[in-house]
Amino acid sequence: MDLQIALLLGQDGIVNGAIYALLSLALVLVFAVTRVIFIPQGEFVAYGALTLASLQAGQAPGTLWLLLGLGVAVTAIDAPHAWRQGSRQLAGLVARQLVYPLVMIGLVFGAAGAAPKDWPLLLQVLLALAVVVPLGPQLYRVAFQPIAEAPVLILLIVAVALHLALVGLGLLFFGAEGSRTPAFSEAAFEVGGLTITGQSLWVVGASAVLIVALYIFFGRSLYGKALRATAINRSGARLMGISTTLAGKLTFLLAAAIGALSGILIAPITTIYYDTGFLVGLKGFVGAIIGGLVSYPVAAAGALLVGLLESFSSFYASAFKEVIVFTLIIPVLVWRSLTSRHVEEEE
């Protein structure tokens, strides 16, 4: 191996690692606030990318119907409560859960004058996000809110079930074959014999911006502080008047947004399939485990390490790449169990 190959591999590892880092942050966030190990995190990656791809192909993405279906379900669950709260509450619920999906359906079918196929790329991306991201809080409302106080194991089992359901729906919506989307930027820079594509700069740049934005959100904003408070002590936060339900929904909104955006960022670099998300999410999970599911910076660094390790092992022993990446968990767990005090979870 010469220096140039090492640099190329390093570049590839950092681009992939940036995506894993975003997903590991989302996983840590969801676990800290709701205690859910969010296995379906990866599905948002696939849904985001494939929704964008179907919009560009001039098809109506299946996620649109999922958005409407979940909207109907949430309305049905929440309507009695909202009715008691007053007509304004009910109107808000209907607007969010029924009118919004219908507006999205209208936009996809060309209500804005032109079909999304002919829109500029940025608007297409925004529409794809607008369709996929609300699925996060909707899924929280339907699947996790009723069992918010359940033990971690039950939450994990529900997360696995949700993952399987979403993968199945993905196959139904998008078919078995994959898709790619056009690059955000066709630019390429030559730096010391190394070609850096505009798209890889987009990925690394967007990841960095998101990480900083999350940092500011948690450090400065009221909602961010509320989420942190919930993560540290649920009962204490509730006594201070923070709604754990709102915290849960907000967390899932962020997780879905991070997932969908990651998918949209990598769709021009690689082919995305309905089930790509699981493996990508799992590698983010390895990063999150390195951070002990609590530390954001360590999780992000761990995810970068996963990306680099993956890149270099694909050069040396491509058949064993996944084995090497996932074996990383074992020494990390040993190290963590030796260094950290074991705390029995209070139930």
Partner: protein, 383 residues
Amino acid sequence: MNLKLKSLLAVAITAAFAAPVLADINVGVVVSATGPAASLGIPEKNTFALMPTTIGGEKVNFLILDDASDTTTAVKNTRKLLTEDKVDVIVGSTITPNSLAMIDIAAEAETPMISMAASSRIVDTANPKVKWVFKTPQNDIQMSTAIVEHMTSAGVKTVAFIGFADAYGEGWFNEFSKIAEARKLQIVANERYNRADTSVTGQVLKMMAAKPDAVLIAGSGTPAALPQKALKEKGYKGAFYQTHGVANKDFLRVCGKDCEGTFLPAGPVLIAAQLPADNPIKKVALDYVGKYEAAHGKGSTSTFGAHAWDAGLLLANAVPVALKKGKPGSKEFKLALRDALEGLKNITVSHGIVNMSAQDHLGFDQRARVMVKVENGDWKLIQ
């Protein structure tokens, strides 16, 4: 409810469910319509809906179960079809590991089985149980011979191999390396990647460092486009070869202009319209393509669905012979059907011309493959 009424009801229910089973020919189908092999299994599943509903004047029922590309499920489904539905013949499964696992069960139940998976091991007559097993897709070895022949005649001396890190890639490497060695073709790199990988930069750099004249990518469906796109992006200028696993429209859509000039071996059904008019396969293949596209839209056919269609054609030719010797549902019928399948001669199917024998339960010759080139975003017959 008194006891008499209860038992009467029970008899009525049993009769209602059992009645069609006794009179008709029941075909148990196991396909991988979900999971990693879904892109192969879905067109196969769609194809069964297009098949004739009667053979030799008898009604045919297709009982289709999905095995989710999982070997355990394939075995479970096969048992269910054999014991509960009492099927006369099993068709399936889509992929090699599942088909290999199903052989034991079909042989144990003395029921003929027609596999739609590629490996030659499925019909390796060294295993006595293979007496009951037939298959429709070409052997990997036929396809790799075609690739090696094309490479040597094009003056290729060194080749780099990259394939799926699973049975498909491994099987291809074994067959390909054997023939390549015999023909003095040097394999300078041997890499693996996974279907869901998001990057193959490492493998691509290693392959390019070996400076091969040509690259062979052994993958199926759209995932096979990833190494080719990565190689093009890194500036690789040599020739590209793909396997018949990529022969569907989605591959062309995803790979785009990076796949121009790629060579691959395939069943003649892929380019049915380009076959010369005197080729008997043309009519049969076009018939299938026409039926499939009428139901699923233009350009929707894949060679995988055609393997299922061919299984149907084998049955259409074998069942009338077997019907003379036994009633559907009986042990005699199943044995007669097996014998009839083994005795099939000169049957034209969409992938070739079948001549079965006790030693050959595939029955294809070199007419079952053509070399194809990707040109202007479509398949083009060469030779």
